[in-house]
Subunit: 526 residues, 2 copies
């Protein structure tokens, strides 16, 4: 009659609900594993300031394949599904290596063998968001193959650490099966992760390649190398060594706080008066602003924050949210792609005839700063499709799923494109990138962006601005096209007219039209 | 240079990412809090087998409102946003009381003050899925109001327990601020939860009322009472006391296992040979099936499961997934609404002219059994809209968000409705309910159902079947309508024809047409 109760660990929660983190089935899981590790690698490289080299190898686990073939022969085919078949999920080995900042030895087991442990819990723009991805990939590999994972890393010091790990899912703890220390003679710095997992490359392939192509587009300073299970090599070479300035950690903004945040700051603060507390813990709150705020809110400047009552804390939060004179968050902590790099990436990967970039001023939602960058590319090698092709990015990672649920898609559907001289079937691609200290993802699997009003407004305005540029280009082209046709007709008939007029006028020699024709042709060539 | 690492608790994770759990903003949060508690109450009543009485009261926190009004006067309106304004988020008090099975005293603090603790981790159909919802509601209330929550519960024994709780978010632990024990003189059984939270009832109201109306529709045995902040009473009375048979816990099915599940079973099993292990731990695996399987897979029947090697475990999982002769999951553990109750609920809440119900045979995905029930309602008090109105349910809870992302919506968009004689603008509502031991939600916020092939197929077929019934009804009505018009014309002219024929034939007395006319009228009346 009475229900039974139990507790589960965070790892157990994400194990039972791995759909939510993007590990729904072998096809999706092989994609998610690859993307989570690649994103960790790119984040680590940003942090080091050195242009990223990421090397990805996905191979069949031949040992396993041979054993399965042998087994397939030895069981009754009437009773068992035979899976020695190209389209069945197979066992793969995934290896991702980078030249990033590396993971300190003491943190390696937890960083990869425990969920909710990592470096992504600061208020800082990063690709990895939830502190889950890397461990989820290893967890998925483990539950489908029962094989341990290998992590090799060095922060550039004298040693390289090699760990053989397994996740204790019920306790959310890493189990170290083996550990080796190697001499780092060449001063290598970076991380290598290798593990086995069940996947379906045949079905995942196009998504994986699209992901790598789009990643290369928005990270044109990165070298990305991918060797697939069929032994094919895909290279996305860097077109520049200049990297955008790296993202910086920032303090919370007064408009984004709640009671819990304030309590934690109070518990941790070394400051014993409210003026210093306000000045030092919040983004863009200086002496003068702190003074203004505390005075207007009727909170004593010399009051000890640790002595605030429960009521006092609630009131402080409320006053902070409503005070109009706090400076809006600045976006100096953010790291947008930038117009130059964006253009370089688009030209490299999409090869269009025309590109318009629009980079908006920073804006904020819920106290988090964000920047939207949009681009419209037209013609060239862009394919004609029924719909506009949309590329979505957040914190420099491509979003490839659930397009129809994304705020950018909805915005594009609502725009009246004929206003901008865009007709159905034109070869057009739109690119939207948002960077923020907190990207408003709807899901843990980072599939699409939620419908926040401030974000929606910025994306709408940026697309419209780029669309106006496109409109000018198309109008001018239309104009040039009209002129060309007009003059083409002109140049077709001019010789005839010259001849007939000569006859009519009874002259012998037709007028010299070469000069006229040549000016027409000059026009055509332009 | 080197990144800093930290660990966060599961409560902290969901605090930082509460969007994901449906607590995005005050409007959404007040809805999510209410729904999570109501669903817990309905689950508790199912478990007890007694028709549910759920009482919900949402009121303004007047004490707080008075204080805010006072404060609003005392601060400089130039510097602070004035929020004594109807549309601003306010502080509310939410109270949900039920007559369900109650929570044992020793579990109350953890059930409400800790995430990932609860009764929802069994393999059983339940509304609550993630073991998060109740605690998330209290957590949200706490971070917006800094007030503790109250939980009162009794399992029907001699005592009633009253707890005053706060969630220690960083440690994911409840903090018991106070505890009282009362004598349970009337033998009451149930649970009452009461807490304060920031919300926006004006914006959330229509969604909340829609939620309660739809909940009443699929739980027609429940009494639901709601008093809103404006003092208005909404009553959804039960139309029946008969409840569907309660959901039952079930064992995992061989097709749904992975290495982790098997390892946990092996660790916990009291059985020392594979035959007993297979027979006792898996759904619908009896002596004969276990024998067949082990023999065909080449696994010794007397082998001790605890002695299986790593390799052996992996092989066992693979063989179990591929063995064709396991019986498919039966759905006896599931508790669909049932045709009778579904019809009663639809007639009560939608008052249509016509209802067609289609209840499919059970099916499975990934080893989880599920049943789809669909209904189409037409005419009566159903409104005419541009689109078909869609009601979505899973495990007897309404899904009110992200309709366009839901698999049912996509299916409806693809169906060629003219085949079924459905024209645009007809007053039609479609209802889809799926129950399962594991509903394939896409998100923790339980907004919509993912696109699993087996689920998609069942929903498609059930809608089409109900649509065929509707088609018959519409065709017959069309036919009747035609006949009626024909006979109406007939009865208009018959008297004249009778008179003219009489004159033409030179007769005095017209024939008796009364009998003919009366048979026409009889037709019209039918």
């Amino acid at each position: 009659m009475v229900q039974s109760y139990e507790q589960i660990s965070a790892a157990d929660f994400f194990y039972r609900n791995r759909d939510i983190a993007g590990f729904t089935n072998p096809t999706r899981a092989i994609f998610s594993s690859l993307r989570e590790l690649v994103e960790n690698s790119l984040d680590a490289a940003d942090h080091s300031g050195i242009p990223s080299d990421v090397y990805i190898r996905l191979s069949y686990d031949h040992e396993r394949a041979a054993r399965e073939a042998h087994e397939a022969k030895s069981v009754d085919e009437n009773l068992f599904d035979n899976d020695v078949n190209d389209s069945e999920p197979k066992i793969y080995r995934l290896r991702v290596a980078d030249n990033g900042s590396g993971v300190p030895a003491r943190h390696i087991p937890s960083a990869f063998g425990q969920v909710l442990f990592g470096s992504k819990y600061k208020l800082k723009q990063a690709r990895g968001t939830f502190g889950l991805g890397g461990t989820m990939a290893l967890l998925y590999g483990q539950i489908t193959t029962h094989k341990p994972a290998f992590v090799v890393s060095s922060t550039g010091g004298a040693r390289i650490y090699v760990y053989k790990l397994v996740v204790d899912i019920q306790r959310n703890r890493p189990i170290i099966m083996d550990r080796k220390i190697l001499l780092n003679k060449e001063g290598w710095r970076g991380t290598i992760v290798e593990f086995s997992l069940e996947g379906d490359y045949a079905k995942a392939m196009s998504r994986i390649l699209e992901y790598l192509k789009q990643t290369a587009l928005v990270n044109p300073y990165a070298n990305i190398t991918f060797i697939d299970p069929r032994g094919r090599l895909y290279k996305f070479d860097r077109v520049t060594k200049s990297m955008p300035s790296p993202p910086k950690e920032t303090k919370p903004h007064p408009y984004g706080v709640d009671v819990e945040t304030i309590q934690r700051l109070i518990r941790a603060t070394p400051y014993r008066n409210m003026i210093d507390f306000m000045r030092n813990h919040f983004h863009r709150v200086g002496e003068k602003t702190a003074h203004n705020f505390l005075e207007s809110a009727g909170i004593g400047k010399t009051r000890n924050p640790k002595r605030l009552s429960q009521e006092g804390i609630v009131r402080l939060v409320k006053m902070m949210k409503r005070f109009r004179a706090f400076l809006p968050p600045d976006a100096s902590c953010l790291s947008p792609i930038g117009e130059e790099l964006l253009k370089a990436g688009i030209l490299k990967e999409l090869k269009p005839e025309f590109v318009a970039i629009c980079s908006r001023q920073p804006s904020t939602y819920s106290g988090h700063p964000f920047i939207v960058e949009a681009a419209i590319a037209y013609g060239g090698e862009i394919q004609r499709k029924n719909d506009i092709i949309l590329y979505r990015f957040a914190n420099r990672i491509p979003l490839l799923y659930d397009e129809a649920s994304d705020v950018s898609w909805r915005i594009i559907k609502r725009i009246n494109w004929r206003r901008y001289k865009v007709a159905a079937g034109m070869p057009i691609a739109i690119l939207v990138h948002i960077c923020s200290t907190k990207v408003p993802y709807k899901t843990v699997g980072k599939e699409f962006i939620a419908d926040r009003p401030e974000v929606k407004r910025e994306i709408t305005n940026s697309i419209r601005e780029a669309a106006r540029n496109l409109q000018h280009f198309l109008t001018k082209r239309e104009h040039v096209e009209k002129e060309r046709r007009r003059l083409s007709t002109f140049s077709k008939y001019l010789p005839k007219i010259a001849r007939f007029s000569t006859e009519l006028a009874g002259k012998e020699k037709p007028p010299n039209i070469k000069k006229l024709l040549s000016s027409v042709r000059k026009y055509e060539e332009n």
